[in-house]
Amino acid sequence: MPWETVIGLEVHLQLATQSKIFSGSATTFGAEPNTQASAVDLAMPGMLPVLNTKAVRYAVMFGLGIGAEIGKRSIFDRKNYFYPDLPKGYQISQFEAPIVGRGDFEIQLEDGSTRSIGITRAHLEEDAGKSLHEDFHGQTGIDLNRAGTPLLEIVSEPDLRNAAEAVAYLKALHSLVLYLGISDGDMSQGSMRCDINISLRPQGSDTLGTRAEIKNVNSFRFVEKAIRHEIERQTDILEAGGTVVQETRLYDADRDETRSMRSKEVANDYRYFPEPDLLPVVIDDIYIEAIRAELPELPPQKRHRFVEQYALSSYDANVLADSRLLADYFESVVAGCGDAKIAANWVQVELLGQLNRNELDITASPVSAEALASLITRILDNSISGKIAKQVFEAMWQGEGSADDIIKARGLQQVSDSGELESMVDQVIADNQAQVQQFLAADDTKRKKLVGFFVGQIMKLSKGQANPQMVNQLLAKKLV
């Protein structure tokens, strides 16, 4: 039976506030254990939470970024469970009245097509601390530095149908939050973690199958692998006539498998109820509109604009709009050289190629947008060919100077002097009489092929510097 996969994601996004969501402690990653835990974070008797308004602002920015309804009166709730790294014995979260309601989020797939993914809600909550089971000789160490770090939990509708879509959705979310500047998005430090809800159903069915939840996957690659693995596992069970158990599973990257953590049958009853230590968060239209006015252009709008304004393919627009800095870089190149098509090509192929090879961020590029624009300008004014330009770019990357300096120093200027070119053409014709005879005897289609041979010889002779257009014109004249 053909099966359809249904995937919904819960993303925990760490917000880039300086201090914690309910206390003044710093949120810096990697500090010595328990050096960033105040009396509030330790849940000392009588301590009370005070809401960090920056976290609210960031959540509203996200909500506006996906065109969601903003909760004008959102409420914090206590989610009760005992665990040593949860000092209060409850997590302050939002249950019935989240700050961000229903929204839609446009993502672009590999083939350039777009899909709209529903976002059910997003709510604010605090992170727990960390339990450290090693190094304590049969005991567990508790580090509360992370306790109280602000999280935005973003819950998607079950709108995703395969691993590639899930990854595209995550990448788009990642791109959006970096655009908004509300998170550092650093997945290796846990700033963006993901729970995957996945189920299978017969193709064409509109009821959902039993789902498994894969917890805490923290890289795009692992998300893809975990989903692929889980689809296989569930398919095997269903094909064998079995039933999938609703449970929480853990993805083990080393063995590339998921395994059961705990069954939902013994699930916690979290006893949610409104947090009496905090007032409802009431926000008005003035506050919301002020934030909306400050939002930057976001990836979907930017993609559409790139397609319209620069006549880029939607694939190119997607790559270039992926990060705000890359998009800005691209637009600076266009402004400097005046040709968006060539600029797009150079940024994507040469620049991103080098950056990826060297694992560099766009901000660390040794070639500035202005420098790249002046290189492209030299292609456009026929000073150098595209092929030579790649050599020049390589030298620019190595820090040898500006495009013009390198062209000059290496004598790479394209030969466009008709006298010089003519003598080269004459020489090649004289040296290759056999081919000339062949050419003259051939019909039009064969001739086109043979011209290539002569051009190649001239390029060789000129060390690639001959102006190819002029060479073609000269050959057309001389070979009749």
């Binding site: 009396a39 000392m44 008797p45 009588g46 005070v50 005992f82 040593p84 000092p87 014995g89």
Partner: protein, 488 residues
């Protein structure tokens, strides 16, 4: 010195009739000599108190003393005191020494008051008799076979026995007013949010409120001036401006409309207590007040609503006592589950466990709507009753308790009978209103309290009515016979 009001003591200190050190030593001596009869203090640090008194004397000498500089105050052991054990009446916190002061303690320190000691209380403020303390029951100074009321029983007994001139307490369902009534003293529970809850160990967050206990309304006003105010570190603390609560004490009662809720004068009320209240109301009438018959129609729902909401909040507020970071931890736990269960089994007393169980049940999936949600709906109705009432009247008056103090042990095995003790006080907490208890007579030598309930942030008016009443009566000046004979 021990039988003077705070106002008189402040005068004496400013006039250099005696020093704070002498005054503090006087009360410390009385505690040493007499408190074995009452058990009203859990912790007394005489040296720290005297050192603080000497600092107060320097401050008074330099002329920048406040109304409370050098006045020894007893604090309920629910307020965190930096460097001084804060037990909350529980074995769970028997070893807990906070590294911080509650905001309320900071305010008293700011004004130069002396911390005389930490008073006994029902464990985690859960109780109406002060029999639920890890440190033993407190006895009523009027008769040591009687309970002092709870949960601020230690504070009330300490003031009544003149072991402290005044004290602080907390009131979640009557825990200031009921012991004040039983011990023949004056106490006020301010409007919810008037006094910061930061550093006060939480029982039921939406109901808890700290307030003063003293011999008179004037003393309560002096303490409230120090305690009240917005605290940015308590999100539920009110930003409404405070006022000088002493300013309006002498205002006339002419034209004051006093509402008497008929539900507070019904079957459950002891006849002799009812007589005292009626006489007290006549006194107010004689000063120009008008008595108006009013109704609080949802009063019969008060106890059930309260005993869902308060335990629900308590059940999660007390989750932090898990043996991980501070407080009691069982010996040699074999695993995490064992540590949790034995730590909490050993650390909490029966009443605390009962309320954690009730609250956990009320919040459980499948029961939440029927209990917690329904109780919140009832709470809104109860609040609305008061709003409606205050359209007709300025304050509401009635008995603080159904009868005077009962015998130790009389109700300790019957939780429901014990809960009924708070039938007149609970609604005030559910509605977030200010309420106070004023001595209004004696029944067979046992004090009776008149309860006054005001509008939100109407503390000044309440204190004014109480003060005028005390100008016309001397119930607040009566002292237990055992303490006034000889040189006690």
């Amino acid at each position: 010195m021990h039988n003077k009001s705070v106002a008189e003591l402040a005068q004496g200190l400013h006039a250099k009739q005696f020093s704070s050190e002498e005054l503090t030593r006087c009360f410390l001596d009385r505690i040493t000599r007499l408190d074995s009869d009452y058990n009203s203090f859990i912790t007394v640090d005489a040296e720290a108190a005297l050192a603080s008194a000497r600092r107060a004397d320097q401050r008074l000498a330099s002329g920048d003393g406040t109304a409370l500089t050098g006045i020894p105050i007893a604090h309920k052991d629910i307020f965190c005191t930096s460097g001084m054990r804060t037990s909350c009446g529980s074995r769970m916190l028997d070893n807990f020494v906070p590294p911080y002061d509650a905001t309320l303690i900071q305010h008293f320190n700011r004004d130069g008051a002396v911390i005389l000691g930490k008073t006994n209380m029902d464990e985690f403020a859960m109780g109406s008799s002060n029999e639920n303390s890890y440190y033993g029951a407190v006895r009523n100074p009027w008769h040591t076979d009687l309970v002092p009321g709870g949960s601020s029983g230690g504070s009330a007994a300490a003031v009544a026995a003149m072991l402290a001139p005044a004290a602080t307490g907390t009131d979640t369902g009557g825990s200031i007013r009921q012991p004040a009534a039983f011990c023949g003293i004056t106490g006020i529970k301010p409007t919810y949010g008037r006094v910061s809850r930061l550093g006060m160990v939480a029982f039921a967050s939406s109901l808890d409120q700290a307030g003063p206990l003293g011999h008179s309304a004037e003393d309560c006003a002096l303490l409230l001036n120090c305690m009240a105010g917005h605290d940015p570190r308590d999100s539920t603390s009110s930003e409404a401006p405070t006022e000088d609560y002493c300013q309006q004490l002498d205002n006339s009662l002419e034209g004051l409309r006093i509402g008497l809720p008929r539900e507070y004068f019904g079957d459950g009320l002891d006849a002799a207590t009812a007589n005292c209240i009626e006489l007290a109301l006549k006194t107010l009438e004689a000063q120009g007040a008008t008595l108006v018959d009013v109704s609080l129609p949802h009063s019969h729902l008060t106890i059930p609503a309260y005993y869902v909401i308060a335990p629900a909040e308590a059940s999660t507020n007390l989750s932090r006592f898990d043996g991980v970071r501070y407080g009691h931890r069982c010996d040699q736990p074999v695993d995490l589950h064992d540590m949790y269960t034995r730590t909490r089994e050993e650390g909490f007393g029966d009443e605390v466990k009962r309320r954690i169980l009730v609250g956990t049940y009320a919040l459980s999936a499948g029961y939440y709507d029927a209990y917690y949600k329904k109780a919140q709906q009832v709470r809104r109705l109860i609040k609305q009753d008061f709003v409606d009432c205050f359209e007709q009247v300025d304050i509401i008056a009635g008995p603080t308790t159904p009868g005077p103090a009962f015998a130790l042990g009389a109700k300790s095995n019957d939780p429901v009978a014990m809960y009924l003790e708070d039938v007149y006080t609970l609604a005030v907490n559910l509605a977030g209103l200010p309420g106070m208890s004023v001595p209004a007579g004696l029944v067979e030598g046992k004090p009776v309290g008149l309860q006054l309930i005001g509008r939100h942030f109407g503390e000044a008016r309440l204190l004014n009515v109480a003060h005028r009443f005390q100008q016309a009566t001397d119930w607040h000046q009566q002292r237990p016979a055992a303490l006034t004979g000889g040189n006690a």
